[in-house]
Amino acid sequence: MASYKYHILVCGGTGCHSSQSNVIAERLNEIIADKHLENDVKVVASGCFGFCEKGPIVKIMPDNTFYVGVKPEDADIIIAEHIIKGRKVEKLLYVDPDTKKHISDSKHMGFYQKQMRIALRNCGFIDPENIEESIARGAYEGLGKVLSDMTPAECINVVKQSGLRGRGGAGFPTGLKWELCAKNSADQKYVVCNADEGDPGAFMDRSIMEGDPHSIVEAMAICGYSIGATKGLVYIRAEYPLAIKRLQIAISQAREYGLLGKDILGSGFDFDIELRYGAGAFVCGEETALIHSMEGKRGEPTFKPPFPAVSGYLAKPTNVNNVETFANVPIIITKGAEWFASIGSEKSKGTKVFALAGQINNVGLIEVPMGTTLRDIIFEIGGGIKNGREFKAVQTGGPSGGCLTKKHLDTPIDYDSLVAAGSMMGSGGMVVMDETSCMVAIAKFYLEFTCEESCGKCSPCRIGNKRMYEILDKITKGKGKMEDLEELRNLASVIKDTALCGLGQTSPNPVLSTLDNFWDEYVEHVVDHKCRAGVCKSLMRYEIDPIKCIGCGACSRVCPQDAISGEKKMAHSIDTAKCIKCGACYEKCKFGAISIK
């Protein structure tokens, strides 16, 4: 390998890519060619750094300089100043919001200080399309160790002892799952990686596959050895083209290096991996539905037992684990079960990756030890609520989880505490809301998603959720009655108890948790016909305060319906019959003359 003086890592994650990080990399390469620096500087499109809020991110190694909000035209100054003259470009450095000081090393940023990266250990550090860089950071060491020094039973034992639990949401102990599958003898077994990340607002698995695909390849081979499977399948969303490409490259490179295929590392163990594409069905995250989809059928779940460990893909014993779960496996093997078990809380070991999003200052991908409190995540790592507003709720677990509130801020994040608080870990979506979010509308939003994604096989989910949605819709339109709230609870408990799969059993959670934590808001909608967040359109109207209005006309110009009239320099008024409540005037008025009633 050539030895470069500088590596310029340009984030190639989806968020940064959407902000033209690929153009930044192209521009850097052009200038490098121009100035004949090809032998000294290498530009790498790396995986996600996590700090999406400040993207696109460019990191310069070896001096660890972290540039934020980089634009294509900044490529010139980065080369001219940093690379050629050795001076940091101050205007591209992160500014600490409290001290207003420039920070060049990400270690000292609030966003990174409380994080601990295990699953994301290589994301942003390597070129994910180059196996040698992965190997230099320890990839395939675990596989080598397993194949040369350990029996399958020993390997399963390490995973069991580590306390690793499924990161897809439900938290089933991974080692136990492997053991159940290992026990069943068959002529063929399968290892399946569940990369059908369907939770809206979650992109943990995608970032791991895009940033460190070899960790998945290695872990699947380790799992195959442990349970006696020679075939691996990755079920991945077709909507993730970059992750698909990177996995394909990783698989073919691993084959070239003899890390996949026949007689891996001379051990006599055969293992290979194929990709299977999902086609946009949230229910396929459920393992039996996923297996049916891989078989070319509609992705409908079936009753368990039999569990996939007994009869899964093509009726053979199959072990299904989530991407993030797999990403933890290689490092557990190399560093040992004790090391992993020393991190986290009593019943939830290790770390968890979250996609932190919503009304928060630092949107991004984070990884924290289990047991970290919601407060630390939202206010330390997340930097608090946007625009100085008040924190209202945090939603974890996506459509299967619930909305937690201020009183839960000191809840430690682990599987059991979140369930006890009325939500769940889920796959790692974490959406923060401020007072501009209406909790009834949020519950309706999630139910709309569930109704759309329900496969329709069992009636509690297909019909029950639809009924709940209709009731919520009525409430948001001011037509709800108090007995509707009771009915919501009844329906929720029936659906929870009787739905066939995890999707239906958890779908009432967003409704139940908002009923529990934001009861007053429901009552306001029903009794006072009022939506305090100003979200439910039927319950609000815009009004112009004739005293504050100076008659500038900005509101009438922006109104799409011509609903605002008035003489120049005179107070204007809104024709409520024409108004579609789009809020354009409200946002335009500089004098605070327009209010929501």
């Binding site: 994650g13 989806t14 968020g15 959407s18 902000s19 999406c52 809020e53 400040k54 993207g55 369907g198 939770d199 809206p200 607002g201 979650a202 992109f203 995608r206 970032s207 077709a238 909507e239 299977r276 594409y277 999902g278 086609a279 946009g280 069905a281 989809s293 078989e295 070319g296 059928k297 509609r298 992705g299 996609a355 999003a357 919503g358 009304q359 949107v363 991004g364 939603q395 996506g398 979506g429 959406v431 809301m433 501009t436 979010s437 949020i442 939003f445 998603f449 496969c455 922006v558 799409p560 579609i580 789009c582 809020g583 354009a584 946002e587």
Partner: protein, 159 residues
């Protein structure tokens, strides 16, 4: 059933795809991915031919096409617009952006403008939550959208 006949080149393409998967019924999802990738959508005629080539009932093919949201039976506009309605975008006001698009284009979600130029759809999360709310026109992502910016975005596609 089918009134419109597929062109010979299309027929050959579909037959070729099916053959590359050994005409196995279990590969129907992979076949449909390839075919839709080429034609943009899966018409009734296409589904019939796929069913025939894979030796499975048309009802099974239709069952799959209608089950998975990635597959579509209607042609998209020249510039397909997708508004992200993932939670992160939703809480940052994606619905208002969607309403404005509907108003300016004069179509509903799932519709295509009469001139075939734009079609409007929703999707769930493009993993660019830092830029929320976002929308995509083709493969291009537009971040930090507001109803105000809708006009500008559409104007980029006026020739």
């Amino acid at each position: 059933m089918a009134v419109i006949k597929l062109s010979e080149s299309k027929v050959q393409f579909i037959k070729g795809v099916c053959k590359s998967f050994n005409n196995e019924g279990g590969e129907v999802i992979n076949v449909l991915h390839k075919v839709q990738g080429e034609f943009g959508y899966l018409s009734a005629e296409v589904q019939e031919l796929v069913a025939k080539e894979l030796n499975i009932p048309v009802a099974k093919v239709y069952g799959i096409v209608s089950f998975y949201s990635f597959f579509t039976m209607t042609p998209k506009g020249l510039h397909p617009i997708s508004v992200c309605l993932g939670t992160a975008c939703y809480v940052r006001g994606a619905e208002k952006v969607l309403d404005e698009l509907k108003r300016q284009l004069g179509i509903q979600v799932g519709g295509t403008t009469p001139d075939g130029k734009f079609s409007l759809n929703c999707l769930r999360c493009v993993a660019a939550c830092g830029l929320a709310p976002v929308l995509m026109v083709g493969d291009k992502v537009y971040g930090s959208m507001t109803p105000d910016k809708v006009k500008e975005v559409l104007a980029e596609y006026n020739d």
